[in-house]
Every structure is written in C-alpha cells, then in structure tokens.
Amino acid sequence: MDRLTYIIVAVAAYLILAPLAGGLLAGVDRRITARMQGRVGPPILQPFYDVFKLFEKEGITVNKVQDFYIQCFLIFIVITGCFFFAGGDLLLIIFTLTLASIFLIVAAFSSNSPYAQIGAERELLQMMAYEPMVLITAIGFYLVYGTFNISDVVAGGGPAIVYLPGIFIGFVYILTIKLRKSPFDLSMSHHGHQELVKGLTTEFSGKTLALIEIAHWYENIFLMGFVYLFFAWSAPWSPILAVLICCIIYFLEIFIDNNEARVKWQLAINTSWIAAATLGFVNMLVLYFIVF
C-alpha cells in the first residue's frame, strides 16, 4: 500500500509540477541565452505567455490526422515521465520515449510540406544518433545495480556516477540533442526561427504548436530526472546534490548552445556513436571486470 501511495503522489506531482518547472526552466534558459548574447531578454514567464497565446489563436491544420499524432506525442511523453518518476522500468521508459518521438515524426511527415518532411528526416537522424547511448545508459545501470527498476537504483548503495563516469559523460553528450541545443539542434532549434532547423514545426500552428511546446517542457524535466538518477542514492542529502548538478548540467548545455556553431547531421551521428562506442562501451567493459 505504501508503494502505491508513493506512485500516485509521484505521478500527480509530475503531471502538475513538470510543466511549471519546465516552463520556468525555458524562461530562465531564454534569459541566460539573451545575457550571453549581450541582450536583456524576455521576462522569465515568457514561455507561458507564448503557450497561452498559441491557445488563443485560430486552429489551422493541413490534414485531419496531424492533431491526433501531436496529442499522442504529448500523451506518450507524459507517460514516459510518469513511469520514470514512479520508479518504473528503465527499458519500458526508453521504449515509450522512442514511441513518443515517432509520433512527432509521423505528424510532421503527414503534411506534404517539404520543410516539415526534411525536418522529420532530420529528427529521425537525431534519434539514430542518440538511441545507442540511451540504451547503453540503461545497460550500465543494470550492470551496477542488477535491476532496471528505478526505485531500486535510487535506493542503491552509492551514487551511480562512481561506477558510470564514462556513461554519464556520453549521456550528457547526447543530452544536447535531446534538449535541442546547438551544435545538434537540426530539426527543432530554439533559435533560427526562419531557418530549416525549425522545419519540424513548419506545419503546426496555434494549439498544436502549444502542445508541442508543453511536451518539450515535460520531456526536459524527465531528461533532468535522468541526470538526477546518476547522483541519487540513499543518503538524505543526496537529492540536494543531485538537483544542484542538474542545474549545472543545464547551464552547461546553455553555454554550449551559445558557443558552438551548428554541425551537419553526419557529424552529429558520427560523434554520438563514437561517444557511445568509446565512453559508453569502455565504461561497460570496466564494469564487467570489476563485477565478475
């Protein structure tokens, strides 16, 4: 019964707090980005204003299915986060996350716009780039704790970062793709609104675009949860340390975003796979030798 109560509280907290925290994070992100570019920047609450405005706009869709796919995208992102914060199975979480991304890609493909189609192709390439490292991350957790269950990982003996330093660096590397930050913001960039790097969202407007933005907030909080996982263990002060490190990692991503030029997709795939093959794989080999 105690476990059930925890799950209900965690899911409810994620459903309500994640969009608030995610929106605030996006606002702080835009402010810090502006400061790094020598500008004043928008109010911290600007992402919320944007989303509320999009809900006020007239609905224009290019076909009947597009909105349905985007709603599925949002729902599966939310389900991913719920599984994660309820302490569910890591493999299932990765599977639902992939499914959610596929819905976004199908929504973009469903229109005949060449911009949306190229954007969707780029999103697919990005998925190919980050998937190996995400899988290696899950396997790494299994090798250390002997379980894919997040609730057991968090209750484990020590922080995972001690055993998984290489996998952590590799994960932060592909986190740049997932957070849609330069140099890997090829399909749905935060900048370059007039460019092809915003191609994925070309055919979405009004409420549909607002749903994508909200899904992005949910996803960002879930990804920060993944970073948290590396630094969480049974010690009472470990959550404070882990949240602090999440903030540092996010700031690092903003810093990279503003200092790196965008790369071609070939380089994005190659370097992500190289990171997975070296940092991730070597870390796994070392674990094998320690464990057995």
Partner: protein
C-alpha cells in the same frame, strides 16, 4: 479579460520591392541594441506561427500573390504593419509602371509606419500600436 496575444507577438517579415533600407532597420530591432525579444517578439519567418505581418517596400505585380498567400496562411487574430513610406503609399516608386502602390492595395493594413528608412524606434512603436489592434481583434474573435 486580458489577452496573451499582446504579450507574445511573433512577427513575419516580407520584403516587397524594398531597397533593403527598411529591412535592415527591421532586423536592427532584433539586435542587442534594441532587443525586441524583451517584449516577447520573435521573428518567426513562418506565416503559420506569426501574429504580425511586417511589410516593407512597395507592391509590384510579381509579389501580389506572395503577399496574399502569406496573409492567408496566418491564423487569426493577425495584424499587418506597413513599414516605410514605400509600403505605406508606394513612395518614390508609386509612378513606376510595375508598381501597384502601397501594401494596402493587396492586404488590409492596420498600422502605417512612414519613413525612409523607418527608424527602429518607429518600427517598434508601430508594432506596439499593432498590439492594440491585435487585442481588439482577439476580443472580436471571443464574441463570435
């Protein structure tokens, strides 16, 4: 009821047959000097995301369908702001054989910002005037 449309106006900018003077001034608004993102303004470049249509330069025969299409692709509520004297009335090009005149010959213009070239301050002022119209249009939408 307050409308959020005035807090996050996203713009699309189209160059009719402008000499690029006004276009450079529009882009200057986005630079650290003027930084219109302070008001939540983003230059989207996508009519489906935009709330405010900034038009520069006079209208000629060839860009009439383009301007019409951009305007029609923008979701309601939307506002058109004509930037510079050419977009306002055709300016010194008004007599040219290929020029139709100001942008109001093609789409309904809500705010006129004259000038050659219009200064960034004047452009920002015009967009802020446009926000009032945007709020009115939103209120009319809610009534319907």
């Amino acid at each position: 009821m307050m409308s959020y449309v005035t807090k996050s106006p996203w713009i699309i900018h189209y160059d009719g047959s402008s000499c690029n003077g006004c276009d450079i001034e529009v882009l200057a608004c986005l630079t650290p000097m003027y930084d219109v993102e302070r008001f939540g303004i983003i230059n989207t470049g996508n009519p489906k995301h935009a709330d405010i249509f900034l038009l520069t330069g006079s209208v000629n025969e060839q860009n009439i369908p383009v301007i019409k299409q951009i305007y029609e692709q923008m979701p309601e509520p939307k506002v058109v702001v004509a930037i510079g004297i050419c977009a306002t009335s055709g300016g010194i090009f008004a007599e040219c054989y290929n020029v139709q005149g100001g942008s109001d010959k093609v789409v309904p213009v809500d705010v006129y910002v004259p000038g050659c070239a219009a200064r960034p301050e004047a452009i920002i002022d015009g967009v802020v005037k446009g926000l009032g119209v945007l709020a009115e249009k939103r209120a009319a939408m809610v009534k319907k």
